[in-house]
């Protein structure tokens, strides 16, 4: 007996199939071509002298000895680059009242964080450039540094930006009304304060670029390890005054980005200027030590939350205050307030209650800039919400899973909106919770937990429901004045030999974008996927688009590919109809062959249509102009965001004598709408969960009192590694969005969104017998032991 046939058994049915990534073998074999691998003729190398102080005035810079060193071609200071590069400011119009100082590639007279690049050297080799850095003398006059969040908010705090009246970057308030009344009427009011440490993305491949300005043609080519080549094409064009058509940004193989590689970094902007000043290619690759003090950091929030529940455990209201510190500037061009903004808008999002009030306070400090990193804001919103739900469940005396089942927005209540105004098309919290109970064997785990406690083994179970923002519309950045596209475009051609070439604006950083685009195109055209070649990441080759961030690759890029492929297919069938003297509607394409719809009879290979159209157009009826290349764009319409949802579970053990936490198993039930490639979705979820687990237990940028990063190396900054990671069990619910034909939503941030919340709840569950609780992330042995009063 064989299994019944499904739609996947049709030829070329790739949507929903676990197809291996076409680039996986090449990358695994070490044949990736990253920016670091690039060696251009006459290429020079840049290195940067960095500030040792968190805040200081630059009284003088002596570069003469460095300039004199053999092999050095250029030593540039802030003033040198300011002559050719216009400043930028990391604010957006829709964040009313936000401020940030203008920024330049290198500072003119003041450094604002320890590690900020101050002087650039360009030399024959990186080693010579670093030799020259040792010969530069900078005369600093130290200024008082604003290090922690509370210090920044103090009334008499030193100012990060002396021209401002305070260290406040941005404030926001949300109020649905009725909050005070709900709290007054509540049977229980739960209060807790949370702190979330800073962490940083730590991509395998650091930031890297080769800027290549060709003075005679005025053409700038930047080979850039970025996820958003079009955004950088626009920025390099505008800030260096080069017409956009003469700026080409190429993103070759990228070793991970996670949101880190879409911000403007001072060194990167400087390298473009250095190439312009020299008229030669200049390479800069951040080493790991530099990455820690110059890649964006993220999180760093302190949240105060209150929740009102009735006697039966029904959530009535939430009232929260989020304060977050973002470094000395707001990041350009996406700002550093999006995370806080999403924290206050996502808190409580899975739950059915009406009264919500939130305030957000974003402050400057003398540290590395924070900005968007995988799951922007979600982990904070989720941890706060889910811990409050657990605390409420304990207060009311309800099981945590039952508490959630009784409070999530019911699956039949859609469309609906959150108290913060997010509009939900269709979510599936109830079915996800039921699935989680099954895959965890929840009741069995509870029994095991209780039995082990008798033997002095303390295990915890944590649950976290979540909502994820994906497929953002122009409401995200465009309305704020950022030239960041929310649409994507594809150009698909039938080649003369009947193969297919798809150039698309979404980009590939290792997650499999090219794989799923190839699947969609092959599926829609009716050809084998090995005959579809997908090109990404070159502004001169691919259409303009938003590229890859905020979980938009599959939902928006995928839909662009689908709609373009359908148009090309119609064009192919039109030519086929002329050749076969049939109505195009009576024909279809299956496995690279034109067939009759009526009986499936094979009529003509697609390759033959291409041959005739390209080489023997004289045999087609007069006036025929075959269009075998189609370009088409898709911008999301309808809902401003495609929200996804899911729930995660965690099972762990706390060693109460050492404070160590051992992760035993992690569970995810996730609904990202139409799944294009289940294997890649599972990879995204697992990778996301691991980053969330890293945040929960390990990752934290620790600073000293003077604003020095204390653990800026991979020996001291702990990223999650395989030995400490649990098995991750994954299950799916599919609720496609009706806003697109494809129905896909994003999945790349779902794992990160809830994993740390789950661990927080599980650790606290394990500590219940001791009356101890932890409210800070990461959950270190020191924090666990402190909560248990063990030292």
């Amino acid at each position: 007996m064989t299994a019944p046939l499904t739609s996947l058994d049709r030829p070329n049915s790739y949507i929903g199939r676990s197809v291996p990534r076409p680039n996986a073998k090449r990358l695994l074999a070490g044949r990736g071509r990253y920016v670091t691998d690039l060696r251009l003729p006459r290429m020079l190398h840049a290195a940067f002298l960095r500030s040792p102080h968190a805040h200081a005035r630059i009284a003088g810079i002596d570069v003469e000895a460095a300039r004199a060193l053999a092999g050095v071609h250029l030593v540039a200071t802030g003033a040198d680059l300011a002559r050719i590069c216009t400043p930028w400011t990391g604010t957006l119009d829709h964040f009313k009242g936000m401020i940030s100082e203008p920024q330049l590639p290198l500072p003119l007279d003041r450094v604002v964080w320890a590690g900020q690049a101050v002087v650039a050297v360009v030399a024959e080799s990186r080693a010579i450039a670093e030799d020259a850095l040792e010969l530069i003398a900078v005369d600093y006059e130290e200024l008082p540094a604003v290090v922690d969040l509370d210090a920044a908010r103090a009334p008499d705090a030193p100012l990060v930006n002396p021209a401002a009246s305070s260290n406040i970057c941005f404030r926001a308030q949300l109020d649905s009304g009725g909050v005070d009344h709900a709290f007054a009427a509540a049977a229980h009011v739960i209060e807790e304060e949370f702190s979330f440490g800073r962490h940083t993305p730590v991509t395998l491949e650091p930031r890297a670029m080769v800027a290549d300005y060709e003075p005679d043609s005025g053409m700038l080519t930047v080979h850039h390890a970025t996820q958003t080549p079009y955004q950088f094409q626009d920025l390099y064009s505008r800030h260096y005054g080069i017409p956009e058509a003469r700026v080409r940004v190429i993103a070759p193989d990228i070793g991970g980005s996670f949101g880190m590689k879409l911000h403007v970094y001072h060194e990167d902007m400087a390298v473009v200027g250095l190439s312009i000043l020299l008229g030669r290619p200049v390479k800069y690759v951040a080493d790991r030590i530099e990455s820690f003090v110059s890649d964006i950091h993220a999180r760093d929030h302190q949240v105060k939350a209150r929740m009102a529940v009735d006697a039966q455990g029904k959530i009535l209201a939430m009232d929260v205050h989020d304060a977050t510190a973002i470094g000395a500037f707001s990041t350009y061009p996406r700002t550093s307030v999006v995370e806080g903004n999403q924290v206050i808008r996502l808190i409580g999002a899975p739950y059915d209650f009406k009264s919500y009030r939130a305030t957000l306070e974003v402050v400057f400090q003398n540290k590395v800039q924070t900005s968007q990193y995988r799951a922007v804001g979600h982990p904070i919103a989720c941890a706060v919400t889910e811990r409050m739900v657990d605390l409420a469940a304990a207060r009311v005396g309800v099981d945590p899973l039952a508490m959630r089942a009784g409070n999530v927005i019911p699956d039949d209540a859609y469309p609906t909106a959150s108290p913060t105004g997010y509009r939900f098309e269709a979510l599936s919290h109830e079915v996800c919770l039921r699935r989680l109970r099954e895959i965890m064997s929840y009741d069995g785990l509870r029994a095991e937990q209780s039995e082990l406690r008798q033997r002095g083994i303390y295990r915890g179970i944590g649950i976290a429901t979540f909502v994820e923002i994906t497929n953002p519309s122009p409401a995200f950045y465009g309305v704020g004045g950022a030239r960041i596209s929310s649409q994507d475009g594809a150009t698909i051609s039938l080649t003369p030999s009947g193969e297919v070439r798809c150039a698309i604006s979404v980009t590939e950083q290792g997650q499999g974008t090219e794989a799923i685009v190839g699947q969609i195109v092959a599926d829609q055209l009716g050809v084998a996927q090995e005959h579809v070649r997908v090109l990404t990441g070159d502004t001169e080759v691919t259409p303009h688009g938003g590229a890859t961030w905020a979980c938009r690759g599959a939902g928006i890029g995928g839909e662009a590919a689908l709609q373009t492929a359908r148009r090309l297919k119609a064009n192919i069938l039109e030519v086929a109809g002329l050749i076969l003297q049939e109505q195009p509607g009576a024909l279809d394409i299956v496995d690279g062959q034109v067939v009759s719809v009526a009986n499936g009879q094979v009529r003509l290979p697609v390759a033959e249509i291409a041959r005739i159209a390209y080489f023997r157009s004289d045999t087609l009826p007069p006036g025929t102009q075959a269009q075998l290349t189609v370009s088409h764009h898709f911008a999301p319409q309808g809902y401003p965001f495609a929200f996804t949802n899911g729930v995660q579970g965690c099972y762990l053990e706390v060693d109460i004598d050492t404070g160590f936490v051992k992760l035993l198993k992690h569970y995810v039930v996730e609904d990202c709408g139409r799944i294009i490639n289940p294997m890649l979705v599972d990879e995204q979820l697992r990778g996301g969960v691991v980053q969330g687990l890293g945040a929960a237990l390990f990752e934290e940028c620790r600073y000293g009192e003077t604003g020095q990063l204390l653990n800026g190396s991979l020996a001291d900054y702990l990223v999650p590694m395989a030995m400490e990671m649990p098995d991750i069990i994954i299950d799916h619910v599919e609720t496609p969005t009706a806003d697109t034909i494809l129905g896909a939503k994003g999945c790349g941030e779902a794992g990160t969104a809830a994993a740390s919340a789950c661990v927080l709840n599980a650790v606290n569950d394990a500590l219940t017998p001791f009356g101890a609780s932890v409210n800070a992330i990461p959950i270190t042995p020191a924090r666990v032991l402190k909560s248990l009063d063990r030292y």
């Binding site: 990186r126 670093e130 050492t658 702990l718 270190t780 042995p781 020191a782 030292y791």
Partner: protein
């Protein structure tokens, strides 16, 4: 970051290596596995004029029995601690510590001599060499000498090695049938430097401890013997009360400093927990 330029010399014998060092006016470093030195060069924390490669000096290689000692050449790789039968038989404490030393790629290159000569207070082998009352063979411009482990570790990254001297071998007393060992560490991730680690070797007289040597690492500037604890244990059996007394005595042996993520009191607490667990294990294997 890239290292500053340096010269390179491959020594064929100990004498060649010593002569090259002297020729460079001691602005030189011996390089064996390079697992600590190469990163230090890349970070420009060290910038010697010349690197003297000792990897090809045969005399530094062998592991062999010499009378009542097991002699481990300085070039013995960490991975050989896991695979060499003589280590398993005669120095099981080193064998027990080896899997905790970093990761396989580092163990393939890193050497015992390099680890002991560097004397990182968070490393496993220097502390175990101390626990084993090993002797360290040194070659220098004025000839050969031997230093007891207890005299070797002086302060943070400071040892009895004088400039221009080369660590040749480590000699540890042969393990005996009436001895027992225990080793463990508390590291947040497998392969990391531990928050605290401990190894011990006990000589039993029936159910009593005739002698015991306990060394801890990641507890101060140097690998540290827990002599007060040892004194509490010698002559007694390992019952719960005695283990508790040993744990209580530990604070007299340790004075760690606060670090930014581990307060001193927490480190002492963890050391006490680890000591208790290891003594418990030692009691069980009898």
């Amino acid at each position: 970051m890239k290292a500053r330029a340096f010269s390179y010399f491959r020594a064929g014998t100990i004498d060649e290596a010593l002569a090259a060092h002297a020729d460079a006016g001691d602005d030189a470093r011996f390089i064996a596995g390079g697992q600590s030195l190469v990163p230090a060069l890349a970070l420009r924390l060290q910038a010697p004029r010349i690197l003297i490669d000792i990897n090809h000096i045969d005399e530094l290689r062998s592991v062999r029995r010499e009378g009542e000692w097991l002699r481990l050449g300085a070039l013995t790789r960490h991975c050989e601690m896991l695979t060499e039968p003589l280590v398993a038989e005669f120095a099981p404490l080193l064998r027990a510590a080896a899997p905790f030393v970093a990761h396989p790629a580092i163990r393939n290159r890193g050497t015992l001599g390099g680890s002991v000569a560097l004397a990182d207070p968070a490393s496993e082998f220097p502390a175990m060499v101390l626990a084993l009352d090993a002797e360290i063979e040194i070659a220098g411009p004025s000839g050969r000498r031997c230093v007891k482990a207890s005299d070797f570790f002086i302060d943070l990254f400071e040892t009895a090695l004088a400039p221009g001297e080369l660590l040749v071998a480590i000699r540890v007393p042969l393990f005996r049938s009436n001895q027992r060992i225990a080793f463990d560490e508390l590291a947040r991730r497998r392969g990391d430097y531990a928050l605290v680690g401990c190894g011990m070797i006990a000589t039993l007289d029936r159910d009593r401890i005739a002698d015991i040597s306990i060394a801890l690492f990641s507890v101060g500037n140097v690998p540290t013997r827990a002599r007060s604890v040892e004194a509490v244990l010698v002559g007694s059996s390992l019952d719960a009360g005695r283990i508790a007394a040993a744990q209580a005595a530990l604070s007299a042996d340790l004075a760690p400093a606060d670090s930014d993520d581990v307060p001193a009191a927490m480190r002492v607490h963890l050391a006490r927990v680890l000591l208790g667990r290891l003594l418990g294990r030692l009691g069980e294997v009898r």
